[in-house]
Structures are given as structure tokens and as C-alpha cells.
């Protein structure tokens, strides 16, 4: 084991050590819950191996042992206020989010839309207003792409003046990534004929709030999609069934769900959600408006709070990085609170505006350690330090006690996990 290359303090190894170390390295790896005594037991058939298994259901559900892998809900009884369902990042791996675990924010529940009756209307500053049925859209050339969707309020607890003790799910669960399939919005806009005066479009949902957001036409013509499928199946009701606007990399709320109307205009609508809700207040009393981009961000999912390390030895540090400005170019990881850094391996394919999984092998010596990641995107943007974010954006005066609160929005600084001698993982600022 001594020949494995330590590249940064507290035992971070070269990102390709697992390739170089081969079988020796693999044998030395331990998971988060393995017990040392397991290997010494005499193997015997378990009950499930000695009789036929259960029938396969029409629509699959995870193993009964995986019931804890679920979203956390802020409003499970559907009281008249916003509902949030957060993705359990610390219990998932890879780069796309299963549909049943994709995050949802709904400001008035999920409408039960009959797809045969749903219409998408494009009107306003167009030559020819048009209505599209789902059947009609299904006949257009389609495109599939991976894209993350992130709520502008994701990671908001990091604005607390003291670290909120919570899981990666609670802190960062309002971002997910899926393969979306649908019709490019540019195709439909060209069919309707855009009046040159049109600079914006107002997108509106068929939900009870008729939620509406204004989007520059330039974004609509760049890479906007009318998404009809999510990870291969029709959209989940909470994610906009039967169709949503997908604006890759842009603020989640602008990706209007249950989309029924697009109106082209010269000026933005200045809707409730763009002028009030998703306009974060700055320390000088002004507020940002039209934030649009979900800037470069990363966070470590393994290990993280709730995943207690089972003794010293080898672990893989891994997490998620993404940016509205294209592909992730580099992720650096520290195990000593930022004194020294190791470059992480990026799991390919590295796709623009999508989750990139990063991984670094780590040999934990059993002592205190502070893990943190920082990401760079291909446009040259660097994930800022928390100090840099706070200097510009401020932090709360009082400690945030409710991890589901939104003291501000658009936090894209790093997250630090302190590993205690017990193996427990705590959220700290470093």
C-alpha cells in the first residue's frame, strides 16, 4: 500500500491511484457500513437463495431495503403553501437522478392534467399564433440531452452565519439531473414566426397559480426545449407532466412546468416570481433581479453527514459538480480544510450543463479531517470560496435553525465536511 501516491494532506491519493494500485487497492477499500467480522464468517445460503423470488411488478420499485432512499417533504399534507421535495444526494451515486427522487418545488401542488386535453399556445409578437397538442408535438424531431435543474434557493442554508447541521439532501437537495427528451423551442418559434420586435417570452403553466416567468428570446433560440420525457419516460407530475420548459442551466423556477402558454413580448412581464420571490436581497438593501444562471458549484456527497466512516482506511471521496456555463473543467478536493488540494477524476462523459461526478481515492488515518471540493467550468469560472460569496451577498445575523428556510438564494460556494475521530461527519465552515 505504501506505493500509492499521496498527493495532498490528510491522505488524499492520486486520482488514478485505483487504476495503478489494481487488485491490492480494491481489496483494501472499505464501504461505509461494512463490518470487519463479515469476511471471517463461513458462507452459507441465505433464505432468499433457497426458494423462488417474488413476482416482478409491472412498474418496478426499489428493494424493500432501500426505503430510506426517499425525498424529504416540507408540506406532505398539501397545505396552502409551497411544497419542497429534496433529492437524497448522499444516498445516490452516478450522474442522473431517478425520476421518483428528482427534486420538486411546487407552489400549489401538481395539477392532474389530461394529456389529451392539454394545449401549448404560442402567441403575442408572432406572425401566426399556434396551438399544439401533445400528439402533434410527438411527431416533431426530438432531441435528448442531460441537464441539471436547480432551484435558485438551493443551498440557501449556507447563508446562515453558523453552519446548519444537516445532510447534503437538506442543504443541496433542490438540484437534480435528468436526461430530457423533447422538441427544441426554436423549431416551434420558427413555425410561428418571431416578430423582430420580440425580445422576451412569458412562459406560463397550467397549474392553479398559472405560474409565469419571463425568458429572453435569445435563450429560447439557444438551447430551450419543450421537454416531454424525463429519463426515458413521460415527465413526472411534479416535474411538469405532460410538458415543461427546459432552460438548461438556468434558474429552476424559469423552467416552467405544466407549460401551456408562451407569449412573445418586447418587455418582461415582471411577474411575482421574478420580481419578488427569486430576487435575493444584498447587504446594501438592493436586490438582484434576473439572476438567470445557476453558477458553477460542487459539493461532496460521499462521505457526508449521515454516512459515518467505519474506521480508518480507504474511502472514495465523490461528489457532484455542474455549471450553467458549460462543462466542468476541473474539480479540486482538500482533506485538510484547504491547505493542500488534490485534483479529482471526472467521470465521463463530461456533458455541458449536466452533473459531473468527481472522485478521489482517500486513505483516512482516523484523525480529524475537513473535506471540501471546488469546481471550475470550461468558461473559466471558478467556484468562489464561502468568504467571497458572503462578502458580496451577506449572511444571516442569527443562526438559521430551519434547514428548509431560504435566507437568500444562489449560493454557489463550497461545502465543508469535518470528519471526527468517531467517523461522524459534521457540516463546518472552513
Amino acid at each position: 500500500m505504501e506505493d500509492l501516491e499521496v498527493v495532498a494532506g490528510n491522505g488524499l491519493l492520486h486520482r488514478r491511484a485505483f487504476l495503478r494500485g489494481g487488485a491490492i487497492f480494491a481489496a483494501a477499500m472499505t464501504g461505509y457500513t461494512l463490518s470487519d467480522s463479515l469476511a471471517a464468517q463461513q458462507l452459507a445460503d441465505d433464505a432468499w437463495s433457497t426458494r423462488p423470488g417474488t413476482p416482478i411488478p409491472e412498474y418496478g420499485v426499489p428493494s424493500s431495503f432501500e426505503k430510506t432512499v426517499s425525498r424529504t417533504l416540507t408540506n406532505p399534507r398539501g397545505e396552502p403553501r409551497t411544497q419542497h421535495a429534496r433529492t437524497p444526494h448522499h444516498l445516490l451515486n452516478g450522474t442522473f437522478t431517478p425520476n421518483a427522487l428528482h427534486f420538486v418545488i411546487s407552489h400549489s401542488g401538481a395539477p392532474d392534467i389530461d394529456p389529451a386535453k392539454h394545449r401549448l399556445v404560442i402567441h403575442g409578437l408572432v406572425k401566426k399564433p399556434l396551438a399544439f397538442t401533445l400528439d402533434a408535438l410527438g411527431r416533431y424531431p426530438m432531441v435528448s440531452r442531460m441537464a441539471f435543474v436547480e432551484c435558485g434557493g438551493n443551498s440557501a442554508p449556507l447563508f446562515s452565519n453558523v453552519p446548519v447541521q444537516a445532510t447534503a439532501q437538506a442543504l443541496h437537495g433542490l438540484v437534480s439531473c435528468a436526461e430530457w427528451t423533447g422538441v427544441m423551442l426554436s423549431t416551434l418559434l420558427e413555425e410561428a414566426g418571431i416578430d423582430p420586435k420580440a425580445k422576451w417570452l412569458i412562459a406560463e403553466g397550467a397549474d392553479s397559480l398559472a405560474l409565469s416567468r419571463s425568458v429572453p428570446v435569445a435563450k429560447a433560440l439557444d438551447d430551450a426545449m419543450i421537454a416531454l420525457y424525463q429519463n426515458g419516460e413521460r415527465l413526472m407530475p411534479g416535474n411538469g407532466y405532460p410538458m415543461r420548459l427546459l432552460l438548461p442551466g438556468w434558474e429552476g423556477n424559469m423552467n416552467v412546468k405544466w407549460l401551456r402558454r408562451i407569449k412573445l413580448t418586447e418587455t418582461p412581464g415582471m411577474s411575482y416570481y421574478e420580481t419578488r420571490t427569486y430576487a435575493p436581497i444584498l447587504p446594501n438593501g438592493k436586490a438582484y433581479q434576473f439572476y438567470f444562471l445557476q453558477e458553477v458549484k460542487s459539493f461532496i456527497t460521499h462521505p457526508s453527514p449521515g454516512l459515518t466512516l467505519n474506521g480508518p482506511g480507504f474511502y472514495e471521496v465523490s461528489g457532484i459538480a455542474y455549471s450553467a456555463s458549460g462543462r466542468i473543467a476541473k474539480v479540486m478536493v482538500t482533506a485538510d480544510g484547504g491547505k493542500t488540494w488534490a485534483q479529482a477524476a471526472l467521470q465521463g462523459p463530461v456533458l455541458p450543463k449536466a452533473f459531473t461526478r468527481f472522485r478521489v481515492p482517500w486513505r483516512w488515518d482516523g484523525g480529524p479531517a475537513i473535506l471540501q471540493s471546488r469546481a471550475w467550468d470550461e468558461a473559466g469560472n471558478m467556484q468562489p470560496t464561502r468568504a467571497e460569496v458572503i462578502a458580496q451577498r451577506g449572511q444571516t445575523k442569527a443562526a438559521v435553525t430551519n434547514a428548509a428556510a431560504f435566507p437568500s438564494q444562489h449560493y454557489n460556494g463550497p461545502t465543508s465536511w469535518a470528519i471526527e475521530r468517531t467517523g461522524e461527519v459534521k457540516h463546518v465552515y472552513a
Binding site: 399564433p129 399556434l130 412581464g269 415582471m270 411577474s271 438592493k286
Partner: protein, 185 residues
């Protein structure tokens, strides 16, 4: 699209046109334009066309005063927003601390909303919560006048209609910074 590909596509379109007797959309089809949208008139869209812009475009006929609005509010809004808009299970509609109090300051009509037209737009499209889009236009104008009056942004006798509402200047009208100016049209 690279030039050779484009030429190939045009050639394909010409081939399709040449070999199909009655396909007037063949060229579009070759370019991936099915043209399956159904023409619809603005009159047919009217019931869905509820966007109100800051310049007042989209505002319907009708009018209302704060006292009219107080009556509507008591029966249709106070159950959630509290007596006189002081807040209950839903947000308060009156008052608000200075935004310099901190980044987590609660955003209100008085301290935050930049456009009065947004009050009309959101009230009409989203309220009352259990029965959205059931208020008459006069009721929405009256409720808008009432909320603006509660916050002393308009007088107690102000009449709100399609002409007066866009002229109301909200206290925090100039309180915003565009985050990425280069992304704005």
C-alpha cells in the same frame, strides 16, 4: 450546420420536391419542420391571456377603490391573510422592515415589489388560493387599490383602473440590480 451538409440538405429537399407530386411542405419536412401547429386567433386565447405588463398592457376594463377592496378582502382574503392584511396562515400584505435590516428581511409589497401591475397580475391569476381566477376584474382592481392603500402607496380614495394603475410608483422601484447585464435583451 456546415456548408456541405446544408448543400446536401437542399439537394435532398429538391429531390423530394421533384419526386413528390403534391407535397407542398416537402422542403420543410426535409428540414425537420412538420408544421403541425394549429392556427389559433388571439380572441380564442383571450381567457388564457392574463399577462399584465408594467406599462399596463393587458389590463382589462374595470375599476375599484380601497373601500370596495376592503369589502372583498373581508369575505375572500382575510381568512388566510388576516384582518386588514396583517397576515395569518398566509403572508402579511401590509408593512415591512427596511431591506437594509439584512438579507433575510421578509419581502413585502411596501418594501420590495417594484411594479403595482404585478399586484393585479398575481392576484388575478393566483388568488384566492382555493379558487383562482374567480374574482371579477372590478374585484381585482378593488383589492389592488386596497393593498396599495393599506401600505399608504395610494390614497384612501384612489381609483385603480387600466389608466391609473401603471402610473403608481412603488417605493422600491429602483431597488434592483440586474445580475448578468450581458444576458439581458
Amino acid at each position: 450546420m456546415s456548408t456541405p451538409n446544408f448543400i446536401r440538405l437542399v439537394a435532398l429537399g429538391a429531390l423530394v420536391l421533384g419526386s413528390t407530386a403534391s407535397a407542398q411542405n416537402s422542403f420543410d419536412v426535409a428540414q425537420g419542420k412538420p408544421n403541425l401547429g394549429t392556427p389559433i386567433s388571439e380572441a380564442e386565447i383571450a381567457a388564457w391571456d392574463i399577462s399584465i405588463l408594467p406599462d399596463g398592457s393587458g389590463l382589462p376594463p374595470g375599476s375599484g377603490t380601497p373601500s370596495d377592496g376592503a369589502r372583498v378582502f373581508a369575505t375572500k382574503c382575510a381568512a388566510c391573510h388576516g384582518e386588514n392584511g396583517k397576515g395569518a396562515s398566509a403572508a402579511a400584505l401590509v408593512g415591512g422592515a427596511p431591506l437594509t435590516n439584512g438579507i433575510e428581511t421578509t419581502k413585502t409589497i411596501a418594501n420590495f415589489w417594484p411594479y403595482a401591475t404585478t399586484l393585479f397580475d398575481f392576484t388575478r391569476r393566483a388568488m384566492p388560493w382555493p379558487r383562482p381566477r374567480t374574482l371579477t376584474n372590478d374585484e381585482v382592481y378593488a383589492l389592488t387599490a386596497y393593498m396599495l392603500s393599506l401600505n399608504k402607496i395610494v390614497g384612501e380614495d384612489a381609483v385603480m383602473n387600466a389608466q391609473t394603475l401603471p402610473k403608481v410608483r412603488m417605493p422600491n422601484r429602483d431597488g434592483f440590480i440586474v445580475r448578468f447585464p450581458e444576458r439581458m435583451p
